[in-house]
């Protein structure tokens, strides 16, 4: 069964939580006791309808303020797919959470209030989806019930959004526009008959047919070593296996590999998954690889195929999103974690900060604050075996860690 990961974004009141509640409700994913709790909570708030948004607005502070403040994960499944929704906030001050939620998504779901059209947050969300190269973008024009299900209004919003698309750097995204009403369930999982002029799929129908992972076979083979397994038992006395998760591409038994950074070559002897021996390992599979020869490799090293070797970089230029209260300062040293490999990295310079609503580059900045997105150049103490994010996203991203308080302060993608 396939797992499809979706990130939802939207502004404060455009009905994101209601939409998710609606998806769960219409796929029969809400157990009766939760449904009863929902009725009761809605009643307590003096509402005369069941507020489906209360299902996902999890934290006490959020329930009080009626807003979503962190990434919440919601699960539902259909007979063919398991869905994971990362519900991320739309406020400007929580951009970092939005980036967090979007970083694992194959589908980005942007909500637009039909009455308001494109707002500043729409730009921000679209920019992040595009920056992270999320392959599918679904634009749900919500609250159609409040604009009398007007086709003209919907078309106007689509047209406005097309202009946004024209300005994007990432063109490979598939974009789908759907007019919906989450409150009444129109075009979410079913049709209620209020929008006759729209012939396209409902949101759920669309999600069910989205195909993904087809790019994987094109990506180069990358295997970051998490640990070396050496049992030293009687039965496995000479066993020496490299445990890890294939980051991208695939490996076959017999493939010639090179270990980075040592440059030593060998061939894959076995690919193992617990007691099973596999002929191949594909992207995102956790396996143990054994080699024909004894080579010197350890955690943080990377096995790659000899036909496509990543550049060993000590200077990195990247787009980053700054995620900490303390500002990024040019000249400061951080820990850079690329996949599982950690190296020291010094910020050489801030190239520019991007205004995410006008897409203008602002140069000459000496620092970056919380939620700023921009380009920086870093120098690393040891080489990093990364690919450009546009060429191989799974091996082209990193985080920065503050050396003193150990918190994650930024995420970056190689450009």
């Amino acid at each position: 069964m396939e797992v499809l990961r979706i990130a939802t974004s939207g502004s404060v009141d455009d009905g994101k939580s209601t939409l998710i509640g609606r998806l769960l409700y219409d796929t029969n994913s809400i157990p009766q006791d939760k449904m009863e709790a929902l009725h009761a909570a809605s009643k307590r708030k003096g509402l005369d309808f069941t507020d489906l948004s209360l299902l996902t607005d999890g934290l006490v502070a959020e329930r009080e303020q009626g807003i979503t403040i962190d990434v919440a994960h919601i699960y539902f499944s259909t007979p063919t797919r398991k869905y994971i929704i990362a519900d991320t906030p739309g406020h400007i001050e929580y951009t970092r959470n939005m980036v967090t939620g979007a970083s694992n998504a194959q589908v980005s779901l942007i909500l637009i209030d039909a009455r308001k059209g494109i707002v500043e947050q729409t730009h921000r969300h679209f920019f992040i989806a595009s920056l992270l190269r999320i392959p599918y973008l679904v634009v749900c024009v919500n609250k159609m019930d409040l604009v009398d299900y007007s086709e003209a209004r919907f078309n106007q919003i689509v047209e406005d959004f097309q202009q946004l698309l024209a300005s994007a750097s990432y063109k490979a995204q598939e974009v789908k526009f759907i007019p919906i009403s989450s409150l009444y369930g129109e075009n979410v999982a079913t049709r209620t008959g209020s929008i006759n002029w729209y012939q396209g799929p409902t949101l759920l129908d669309y999600l069910e047919q989205v195909s993904f992972d087809q790019e994987d076979s094109r990506h180069p083979a990358r295997f970051p070593i998490q640990s070396v397994i050496r049992p030293r038992t009687t039965e496995y006395h000479d066993f020496r296996g490299f445990a890890g998760k294939v980051a991208s591409g695939h490996f076959n038994v017999g493939d010639e590999i090179i270990s980075l950074p040592s440059g030593q070559k060998s061939r894959i002897k076995t690919i193992e998954q617990f007691e099973k021996q596999l002929p191949a390992a594909h992207a995102r599979e956790s396996v143990v690889i054994t080699l024909e020869d004894e080579i010197d490799s350890s955690r943080g090293n990377m096995l790659v195929k000899t036909d496509n070797i990543p550049e060993q970089r000590k200077e990195i230029t990247a787009n980053i999103c700054w995620m900490d209260q303390q500002k990024l300062v040019a000249g400061k040293t951080y820990l850079l974690q690329h996949g599982i490999n950690r190296v020291k990295a010094k910020v050489q310079q801030i190239n520019f900060v991007i205004d995410v609503t006008s897409y203008q580059h602002i140069e000459g900045k000496n620092d970056m604050g919380l939620n700023d997105i921009g380009s920086i150049t870093l120098k690393t103490a040891q080489p990093v075996f990364a690919d450009l994010y546009a060429e191989n996203p799974a091996n082209g991203a990193f985080i920065l860690i503050d050396e003193f308080n150990n918190t994650t302060v930024a995420v970056g993608t190689l450009i």
């Binding site: 797992v3 063919t80 296996g241 599982i340």
Partner: protein, 302 residues
């Protein structure tokens, strides 16, 4: 709309969990796996076995024994540890009570569920464990939906929802300050059905209380409570014999039974899919208030 049961386990979830366990073993000095004897921690043990095979599981299991466990759970725990050759540490809530660190609750709703937090935190401090691997899932409860995979706790075991580290892509930052520790949740993205399908696929043994069996129960607040010497009952609560099973393994004082005839794993899964109440709905301790779970988490509850 009735559910069609999908018996297929999404393999991506196992790959992700194994990756997380390997990161935990590599990034921390003294990880420990919190074991309750329930299906989620049994799943964790299987994942750990697979993650390091043919090597040994590189961390011990820690069981906080409230003293109110189902005897079947303890029996199962010891069998599992012996069969797989794992290291097990047991710490008892009774000791915390005897040391005067916690006080036994009174009244008919008395349970030791809240008390075990103190025993757990003491055990973490004593063992100098910097990473505690747990079987919590985000689908269980609203507050858990926001939990990170590596969730940093302060010295007092407290979780601060607003101060969580962002987790990007599959990159896990396990660096912590002195005194802090991390709760690790490898099966965060699994649902209850995923866990059951995994147990089925892997042919794992589980404690017998998950299957329908005859037991003395009482009815209270519309729920079926297992009758035991630990449960404070009132005069009008008369135990009666009933065929039931349990959907989660907790204490005998705070885990409700469901009426069931399901004695095979497939029947259990089918029953869950048709179930009218969600899993934690059978945990009496969560019902105390809407924000019960979040409050307990702030206090260091697992």
């Amino acid at each position: 709309m009735t559910h069609q049961i999908n018996w297929e386990f999404p393999q991506a979830l196992e790959d992700e969990a194994i990756y997380i366990l390997r990161e935990t073993a590599a990034q921390f000095e003294k990880p420990v796996l919190l074991f309750s004897g329930g299906k989620d921690s049994i799943t964790l043990v299987r994942l750990a076995q697979k993650a390091f095979y043919p090597g040994k599981v590189p961390f011990p299991l820690l069981h906080v024994d409230t003293g109110h466990n189902f005897p079947e759970t303890i029996e199962f725990r010891d069998w599992l540890v012996n069969t797989l050759g794992l290291d097990l540490i047991v710490r008892n809530v009774q000791d915390s009570i005897d040391q005067g660190k916690v006080q036994e609750e009174t009244g008919k709703y008395a349970s030791r569920n809240a008390l075990q937090t103190v025993t757990l935190l003491d055990a973490i401090e004593e063992g100098k464990f910097d990473a505690c691997i747990g079987g919590a899932r985000r689908d269980e409860e609203k507050a858990r939906a926001k939990e990170r995979i590596f969730s940093v706790r302060d010295e007092f075991g407290q979780w601060n929802a607003k101060m969580q580290r962002p987790e990007l892509f599959d990159i896990l930052n396990g660096k912590i300050n002195i005194g802090e520790n991390v709760r690790v949740f490898p099966i965060s993205n699994w649902t209850e059905l995923d866990v059951w399908n995994y147990i089925r696929r892997e042919k794992l043994e589980i404690p017998s209380i998950y299957f329908a069996h005859e037991r003395d129960i009482i009815e209270r607040d519309g729920l079926y409570w297992p009758y035991s010497t630990y449960l404070n009952t009132t005069a009008d609560e008369v135990p009666f014999r009933q065929k039931v099973r349990f959907r989660t393994v907790g204490d005998m004082t705070c885990t409700a039974a469901v009426l069931s005839e399901a004695d095979k794993l497939e029947d259990i899964i089918a029953e869950i899919m048709e179930a009218k109440i969600s899993e934690r709905g059978a945990r009496i301790d969560d019902k105390r208030s809407e924000a019960a779970m979040e409050k307990r988490k702030q206090a260091g509850y697992f």
